[in-house]
Structure formats: C-alpha cells, structure tokens
C-alpha cells in the first residue's frame, strides 16, 4: 500500500472516529447530563429525556455506534484494499 493511500485510509478512519465520538459525547454527557435541565419537559414514557438517556438511552446509542463503526470501517477497509 502506498504512503498516499495509507494516509488517506487513516484520514478516513479518523474522520469516522471523530463523528462517532461527537455522537458518543452528545448522547451521554450532552443529553444525559448537561442538557437535562433544559429538556426536562420532554418525556420518554414516565421519565424525562435526560434521565432516560442517562440510565438507558445512551447505552443503546453506544451499541449502535460500535456496530456502525465496525460496519463502516469494514467498508473502508475494502475500498482501500486493506481488509484481511
């Protein structure tokens, strides 16, 4: 693999990581903690949005994030011909 495509592959990977980490931070620290007081009027069933994200919701988002990352990276691996 050439240096150029190696750095392009790494840049693509880092971009996916950054987007994922923004979502990771937004659902847990954002909705679950920082924005909870502001969003207290929105209910998820019997819980307010922030409470639900802090106790259940962010865990579901984490799950989706990891599998989405794995899938996207498998695709990028193939595009760059670096899959195993």
């Amino acid at each position: 693999m050439s240096d150029k495509s190696a750095s392009a592959y790494w840049a693509a990977n880092v971009r996916v990581i950054i987007i994922s980490l923004v979502i990771w931070f937004a659902c847990s620290f954002g909705l679950g903690i920082i924005l909870r007081p502001a969003l207290s009027g929105i209910m998820v069933g019997g819980a307010d949005l922030g409470f639900w994200f802090a106790q259940n919701g962010s865990i579901y988002v984490f799950l989706v994030l990891i599998f989405a990352y794995a899938k996207i990276m498998n695709g990028i691996d193939r595009d760059f011909g670096v899959e195993e």
């Binding site: 190696a6 019997g46 819980a47 802090a54 106790q55 794995a70």
Partner: protein, 672 residues
C-alpha cells in the same frame, strides 16, 4: 428440600461445569495461555468480556447504589454511562490497533511503541497496581457471597473461591478462563434477569424491566408513572427525589468520564481483544461485549428504582395505593408473623438490614431523619454527659434527668451537675422546637409521634440479593442468584489474575530478566506466576488494606491516568517519544494516587487522610472518584510537552505505527 441444600446443589453444579470446561480447554502453548490461541469467535469473546468486566460490584451492588443513593438515583447514572461508554472508546481508539499489533500484553505494546524497556517496566508497575487493587475487591466479593448463601465464614468462602480459580486459571490460562467466562456469563445474566422480570411485572405490568422503568405504576392502574410514584413517596418521607438533578454537574461529568476512560484503560479488559482472529473481529467484538453488558446494565436501573419502591411500600403499606402517610407504618407483629415479610428478619439476621422501634409504638417508621439528626445528637450527648457526671459523683440512676434529684449531691445542688442539666434542658427544648417545626406529608414530627428513622440500616446489596424473596420467587431462583453472584466475582478475579500473571511471566521474566527462555519454560513460568498472583490476591482479600470498596476508585483513576493515554498516544501520534510517554505515565500515576490518598488516607491506611472526604473540601468540587479524568489530561499535556523537547522516535517505530493502523496482515488465527 431446604434452601441451603438447594443453594449447594445449584452452586455445586455450576462449579462442576467450570472445572469441566477447564479440563477441556487446558492450554498447551503460551499463545493459548496468554491469548487463547487468538482463535475465539467475536461473539463468544464478547460474552467472556461481559463476564470478565461485570464484577461482584456490578452484579450485587450497583442496583443498590443507584436505589439507595442519598442524592437520588439519577446522580448514580455516572456508573451506568461510565461503565458502558468506555467500550465505545475501546472499539474506536484501542482494540483494533492493539489486535493488529498481535502480541500478548499491554506493557509489551507500550515497550515496543515507545522503544524502551523502561516504558514497558512503568506500564507493568501501573498494570500491577491497577489489577491488584481491583482484584482485592473481587476476592472479598467471592468470600462475602459464599458466606451469605452457603453458611460458611467469609474467609472460608474466599479459600474455596481461590481454589476454584486456581483450578481453571492455572490449567487453562486465557483459553480456560475465556470459555469458563462464557458459561459464567450465562449463569449470571439469567440469575439477574429472572427476579427483575418478576418485580417489573408486579410493579408495572411490563415484562421488560427496561420498559418498566419508564412505565406506569400498575397497582393504581398505571396512570401515574412508576418514577413519579417513587418520587412522590420519597419526597413525602423527606428523601431526595429519585430523579432529582445533580447539584454538582461538573463533578458528575468528570466522574462519568473517569469511569469511561478508566474502563478503556483496564488491562484485563484490553487483553480480551487480543484473543479474536482478526482486526475486524476486535471492532465487532467490543460491540458484542457491550450487547452482553447492556443486558445487565439497562436492567440494573429498573431493579434499583423498583426495589426502592418495593422497600418503601413494604414499610408503609398504605403507600401501595395512596400516600406514604395515608396508613400506619408497618407493625413489628406483622414482620414477625406474615410469611410474605419473613425476608425482613432473614436479612436482619445477616446484619445487612436493621430496625429498632425507637419511639416504642410497635411500628417501624422509615423516613429520612437528617433534619432531626442535629437535635437528636445534641440531646443524646447532653444526656450521656449528665449521666456520666452523676455516676462519677456516686449518684444512683435517676428516672428523670431534668428533675432536682438528678443534680443533688449530699442534700446540696452540685454546680457542675446543674450546668450539665441546664444544657440537657436546653437541648431538649431545641429538640421539641425542631420536632414541632419539621413536617412530613404536611404533619409535624411532634404530631406524628416520631423520634427518628427506625429502619436503621439497609445495605445496598440487599436490593439484588433479597429481590427473589421480596418477589416471592421459588427457592431455585434464590439459589441461582447465589450462583450468579459467585460467577460474577470469580470471572472478574480470573481475568485480573491472568493480566497480572502475564505481566510477570511475559513482560518481566521473558521481556527483561531472561529473554532466551524457552516456550515450555515460559508456559511453566506463567503458571507459577498465576499461582503466585492467586496467593497474593487471597492474602490481600483476607487482609484488605483500609476500605476494600474504595480501592476500586484507585484502579479506575489510575487506569484512566496512565494506561489509556499511553496507548492512545502510542497509536494516534507518531511524535510522542519514550521520554514523553514515561514522564506522562509517571506524572499521571503520582498525581492521581496522591489526590486519592489525600482524602482516603495514604495507601488507604485509616486515619492518615489529610482532608476529610467531603464535597466542601474537594478542589473545585472534584471528588477522588473523578480525579482520573484530570490525571489523564495531565498525562497528555506532560507527554506532549516532553516529546517536544526530546529526540523524535526512530524510523522503525514510525513503521510500526503505520503497520498497526492498517488491518491487513494481522497474525493468522490458530485452530483449536
């Protein structure tokens, strides 16, 4: 069949299963001993990681920590997000690259990437401090669970647990541990979910506890949500509302972050991702690990909230359909005779639950008496002072300490006694004024006839351990919870012990002391190291330094401040030098440990703390539990600063970094 026999049968059957797996999966090579031959299916590895990760604390204590938190259940969400969010960091930032690196231990990567056996040694020290502090709590957990269910002493339980771990960890290494952990996961998740489903059905009518958490409160028809019902009852009884917001958002953020990066930096979790065949498997295996962890972690908050609600309505029977104070508190005669309430006295016998009828009305009032603590303590102190002085003056006991004969010595009033009596009268007056002022459910304490909270102790662990009995489930479910608690503690202990022993045999002996050691002898060294690690962990479990529970804070803080930053910089930066990495780890280690020791005592020795561990004393409100985040930041800053002024890494290290960033060419999987 009585409960004890049933517990023995179920626990014995699970132990036979673990030993059977150990014999089937014994390790023949170092690759099998350290990394299970790198041939574990990602889903099975995820399951094993789940068992490895979920300790006695997750299984037994976490729901209770959330349920009984004096600041409300919401604030403890830090544990839920922190202990799961770390897997995102693992999957994105560490696991795939470390798998591509393709060797056996965390210090080995740090040593190669930072081209220095010094860096490897520092990493070994960090790893051993982290894993040993963590394993103490697990060994205690094994002992405590044994003692509760199998009627042996905590120490005996610890010996039995150590013997079981010895059998399958020394024989099978990572391979034996991995397949045992898969079985342990199945046992613990079934044991956790069955009681949760029943409690959710009875309180919310919802089969899934996750939906029950946000569902309606079934006994009154479901119009009021379960959480609103709980909030209402708790505030009526003077407790903080269950869903109350945090009063220190900054600290909650740092605490959550500390648990997340600490999780991602725990060596015994990281090495699990060395066992899968491919880089792509390392990514998805972190996802599978989180699936299996989430099965417990999304149920735990539901168990917490529902168990707290159950506890409250048990002690205030009127609360089931009305307000807490719409009926009388539970009667002691009821506790003693009603078979549905027999669990209260069962757990009272273990000391995990305690009640006393302080106002002598034959009922047990459960409420938050914090507003009364100051005046009650003042009266108690003044009474003791007067009584002691009376005894010293040779007076017999007086029934009324405020009468004149309480201070009369040889026919004359004693000046000292009179001062003490005046103080007692003043304390009682203040108490009466406070009792007339503090209200619960709109009525004053004086009017209610209360003097203080009479449910004097509810251990956090009760919330999970007593759940099957509270929900009137059959005896085999109780036995299953015992087996589940043991599975959780044993699986985590085994994973930690493997991390410790591989650091000793692979990083210290092969990496530093005797690089030419043969494969056969290294395997022998690994087994001897494992035996040694079990002996040390057993000794420390029997004689824990200071507070066993608090040392876990040190493990997470140090993992966050040392291992995680070093690994991340090793992968994502080509410029960080060996000097930078070593300085970063050492400063992170010392900074974090010192901050924790300032509040919890030097090396956790009681009485050596510099500051009392209260929010008012914390720098910028940062608790010792949360300091790992700051320690990690300090590590990054120091490492980059030192790297800027030291010689750049050599070309072969840059090539190594290039190679671990690309999946192609990871070591071949081995059949087994």
């Amino acid at each position: 069949m009585d409960q004890f026999t049933l517990n023995l049968l179920v626990v014995g059957a699970t132990f036979a299963l673990y030993i059977g797996i150990a014999i089937w999966a014994r390790a023949g090579t170092t690759a099998e001993f350290y990394a299970a031959g790198q041939g574990v299916h990602p889903i099975l590895n995820g399951m094993a990681t789940g068992a490895d990760w979920m300790s006695a604390a997750s299984f037994i204590s976490m729901a209770g920590i959330i349920a009984m938190s004096s600041a409300g259940g919401y604030v403890q969400s830090a544990y839920l997000m922190g202990w799961t969010g770390g897997y995102v960091l693992l999957a994105l930032l560490l696991a795939p690259y470390l798998r591509k690196f393709g060797k056996f231990t965390v210090p080995e990567f740090i040593g190669d990437r930072f081209y220095s056996s010094g860096a490897r040694l520092v990493a070994v020290i960090c790893l051993i401090v982290i894993s040993v502090t963590y394993v103490i709590g697990q060994m205690r957990g094994v002992g405590v669970t044994f003692s509760r269910f199998l009627e042996v002493s905590t120490d005996t339980g610890l010996y039995i647990g150590a013997a079981i771990v010895f059998a399958y960890a020394v024989l099978g290494g990572m391979k034996g541990i991995t397949y045992t952990q898969v079985a342990q996961y199945v046992v613990l998740i079934i044991a956790y979910t069955i009681p949760a489903i029943f409690i959710s059905l009875s309180l919310t009518g919802s089969f899934l506890p996750q939906l029950g958490l946000i569902g309606g409160y079934a006994p009154t028809g479901g119009d009021v949500s379960m959480l609103a019902k709980l909030d209402g009852l708790l505030t009526e009884l003077g407790f903080t509302a269950y869903t109350a917001d945090t009063t220190n958002m900054f600290n909650m953020i740092l605490f959550t972050m500390s648990l997340m990066i600490g999780t991602a930096g725990l060596p015994h979790v990281i090495i699990r991702f060395f066992t899968v065949p491919k880089v792509a498997d390392a990514r998805s295996s972190a996802g599978w690990a989180l699936v299996f962890i989430a099965l417990l972690y999304t149920v735990a908050p539901a168990v917490g909230a529902m168990a707290r609600l159950n506890l409250t309505t048990t002690f205030w029977p009127g609360a089931t359909t009305g307000n807490a104070l719409s009926g009388e508190a539970i009667a002691i005669s009821d506790i003693d005779t009603n078979p549905n309430l027999s669990w209260i006295n069962t757990w009272r016998d273990t000391g995990l639950l305690a009640y006393s009828d302080r106002n002598g009305d034959g009922r047990i009032q459960y409420f938050n008496d914090a507003p009364l603590t100051a005046v009650n303590t003042a009266v108690a102190t003044a009474t003791t002072a007067l009584n002691d002085a009376r005894t010293a003056a040779g007076l017999a006991a007086a029934t009324d300490l405020t009468s004149a004969d309480a201070i009369t010595v040889n026919g004359a009033v004693d000046a000292n006694l009179q001062t003490l009596q005046t103080a007692l009268v003043a304390a009682r007056t203040a108490q009466a004024a406070r009792f007339a002022e503090v209200t619960y459910g709109g009525r004053t304490v004086a009017d209610l006839g209360w003097v203080g909270n009479e449910l004097t102790r509810v251990d956090n662990d009760i919330m999970v351990l007593a759940n099957p009995e509270i929900a009137q489930l059959p005896g085999w479910v109780i036995a299953l919870v015992a087996a589940g608690g043991l599975a959780a503690a044993l699986s985590t202990a085994a994973g930690l012990l493997l991390a410790i022993s591989s650091a000793i045999s692979h990083d210290l002996i092969k990496g530093t002391l005797n690089p030419n050691i043969s494969e056969k002898n290294e395997l022998l060294a690994a087994r001897i190291s494992m035996t040694f690690a079990i002996a040390v962990a057993t000794y420390l479990g029997l004689n824990p330094p200071g507070f066993a529970a608090q040392v876990v804070a040190l493990a997470f803080g140090l993992a966050a401040a040392t291992i995680f930053p070093a690994l991340m910089m090793g992968i994502f930066s080509k410029t960080v030098t060996k000097e930078g990495a070593i300085a970063g780890m050492l400063v992170g280690l010392v900074f974090t440990a010192v901050y924790i020791f300032l509040y919890l005592g030097w090396f956790f020795i009681p009485g050596t703390a510099v500051y009392a561990n209260t929010a008012a004393n914390h720098f910028f409100g940062i608790s010792p539990l949360s300091i790992g985040t700051v320690g990690a930041a300090v590590n990054f800053v120091v490492a980059y600063a030192v790297s800027a002024v030291t010689k750049a890494p050599p070309q072969n290290v840059k090539d190594l970094i290039e190679s671990i960033r690309v999946p192609k060419g990871a070591g071949k999987a081995q059949a087994h």
